[in-house]
């Protein structure tokens, strides 16, 4: 349910650095990857330079996520003051808990405000935006 | 030697920082009128240089701005062989002037070549319109 109010207003870009480069490279190819430690078989997000479980820095890898999960929490932007002007109101930002156990934030796709609530099953989809960047969103899926 | 500027480059402008250092505004306002203004504590007469909101000697916040005679001596100097900013043509000298009232100011020389610079050399202020919106106090040989 995100629509753009004014396409001249830039959509803020993710800040890409050496620690999260591969995450955003994958998004560009319509894939969601999650950082994973080979040694202790654990996933974590956001990307970081060290495994918080075993403190290893050379056992980190990127694994493709199923992209499926549930809405864990959400916020609905309804008022001008708080919202970013590029987006049409209202719009939602959801915190989704993926099957791999990590949580990520994104917008929703073709979901009515009343359909958005914790526990609703969702899956990822990608969109190449008008400004050249690729972002992911979540849409409803069957449970 | 006066400083030579690259005409197409902007000389670092004090106004850019005057927002941060509002206490300096009377100094730069004075320079526009070709006066060298110094801040002095009204209560105990201590020079407040660089400008500040309180006298460190008597803790009074009452101060006044008075015009300097503009006479002084070279206290120290450096010569830039590599330009730290594209506005300046190298080599050029920067001097630290001790005014006869006591305060010291950083400035340039109007008519003294680097080889002739001597610590203790008597100098007096002169004002140079270096850009449409910028006048700078500089120093030349006294008398």
């Amino acid at each position: 349910m995100v629509e753009y109010a004014d396409k001249r207003i830039p959509i803020m870009r993710p800040y890409i650095d050496v620690d999260n480069q591969e995450y955003w490279d994958a998004v560009k190819q319509h894939k969601l990857v999650i950082q994973h430690c080979k040694k202790c078989d654990k996933y974590f997000q956001p990307p970081r330079p060290m495994c918080p479980y075993c403190h290893s820095q050379d056992t980190l890898e990127w694994k493709e996520s199923s992209g499926k999960g549930y809405i864990y929490a959400y916020i609905m932007f309804t008022a001008d003051k708080m919202a970013y002007p590029a987006f049409k109101l209202p719009y939602a930002v959801v915190l989704v808990e993926l099957e791999e156990g990590v949580r990520i934030t994104a917008n929703t796709h073709e979901m009515k405000p009343e359909e958005i609530e914790p526990g609703v099953p969702v899956e990822i989809m990608f969109e190449d935006l008008h400004d050249g960047q690729t972002l992911y969103r979540f849409k409803k899926r069957g449970a | 030697m006066t400083v030579k500027y690259n005409a197409d480059k902007r000389i670092p402008h004090p106004a850019k920082w005057a927002v941060l250092y509002r206490s300096s505004t009377p100094f730069w306002d004075g320079v526009k009128e070709k006066k060298l203004m110094l801040q002095r504590c009204k209560q105990c007469g201590t020079w407040l240089n660089p400008p500040r909101p309180m006298c460190p000697k008597c803790h009074s916040t009452e101060s006044e701005w008075v015009a300097s005679s503009g006479k002084g001596k070279i206290y120290s100097w450096v010569t830039y062989n590599e330009a730290p900013d594209p506005a300046f043509k190298t080599p050029y000298a920067v001097v630290l002037i001790e005014l006869e009232e006591g305060p010291r100011l950083v400035s340039n020389l109007a008519d003294i070549t680097p080889e002739d610079i001597r610590i203790g050399m008597p100098v007096e202020v002169t004002f140079e319109d270096v850009a449409e919106d910028l006048t700078l106090p500089k120093f030349k040989k006294a008398g």
Binding site: Y15, D17, P49 | P12, P56, S76, Y80, V106
Partner: protein
Amino acid sequence: MAKKSIKDKTNRAKSGAKSRKTGHSMAKNSIKNKTAIVGIGVVNFSKNIGRSEWYTASQCIKLAADDAGVNIYDIDGMVKNIDDGPDPSYVQKGLGIDNLTYHSESHWGTSAMMNAVQAIASGAANYCVYYQPAHRASGPEKSISDYRVARETRDDSLDLIRYDFFSPFGLIGQTGYVGMTYQRYMYEFGVKPEQIGWIPVVESESAARNPNAIFFDKPITIKDYLNSRMVVNPMREYDVAPKVDGAIAIIITTTERARDLKHKPVIISSCAFGMAPEGQFHTSYTRDSITELPEMKNMARELFRIAGVSPKDIKAAMLDDTFIPYVPMQLEALGFCGRGEGAAFCEGGDRIRPGGELPINTDGGSFGQGKLDMTRIVEAVRQIRGTSTNQIDNADMILVASGAGGPADGLILRG
């Protein structure tokens, strides 16, 4: 500012630690010998480390914990310099520490040591890490968070300066700022480049023997120094420490706990900080004298008072050589020689070499390794442990000084 202005208002200096107003002696808790450095972690320096500061911050803390024999999850305090590297909330994401009970950030030099020492001495934390990842050679790094914003909007060469009184005249950058002071120092005391040039010469000798000092494979000569590029007259290329990418962490705990850990404890006999009136980072031009580093003098008085020792007890000194001309001024301010005698002290290099009267920067200093303040603490620790690449005899009391030209801080470490 002369006569009428702020005369040397360091009255406190003359009367010891007494309140200027009441004359009462000021009660100060002594931290003497209460804390110790138990671990050091150094990520190999490079001109382009190819990693994020976040990565090397995590890495150096892990190395320090391994060195100390401390479990990472037992680290409960973190301090750092405000401008260097990601804050604890980032570092924690890799280290997974969940019981951080103390953190703080400090400006200038290695003054965060004071925070660490106070945190441990007061019991606010049991194991405090001080970390400094700084990739200054490959440029301010790009990462996510307000720390990035801070790095991008605050050029560290211009921080804390009254730009508006300097920049329009082309006085831009620290090398020029320090040059102004150096010129006056030469004038007042007849100091010559042929004298202070021995500092980089001796440091390059030490650097050549230290594998982590990447800038000098072989020593330079005094001739090389004098022939080095004049950047801002009187400052030569070899008067300024080069930029480097590196990361260092050290772990501090109580002296009592330190005795049960892997290494012989390096006891923090004293830790002090100093400021002085009319101070402005590298540009305190309005003081009566601009060549005596009064912050360093004030710091030294407190440093020696706490430790209960005097300069003659110090076996080696790790001084702030970010700008070489500050080294002789520090020797004077710290009481190793008289006013105006610092350059003569260094001339010929014999007094300041390993084995000399007062060896300085036996790791090659910032000149040999690149500008990263914590190297001085690391080398002091190595000297006391007996593991320096330029080991001196009887290294049982080492002084560390940082922050020359601005608020100063220092340590006296002992075995």
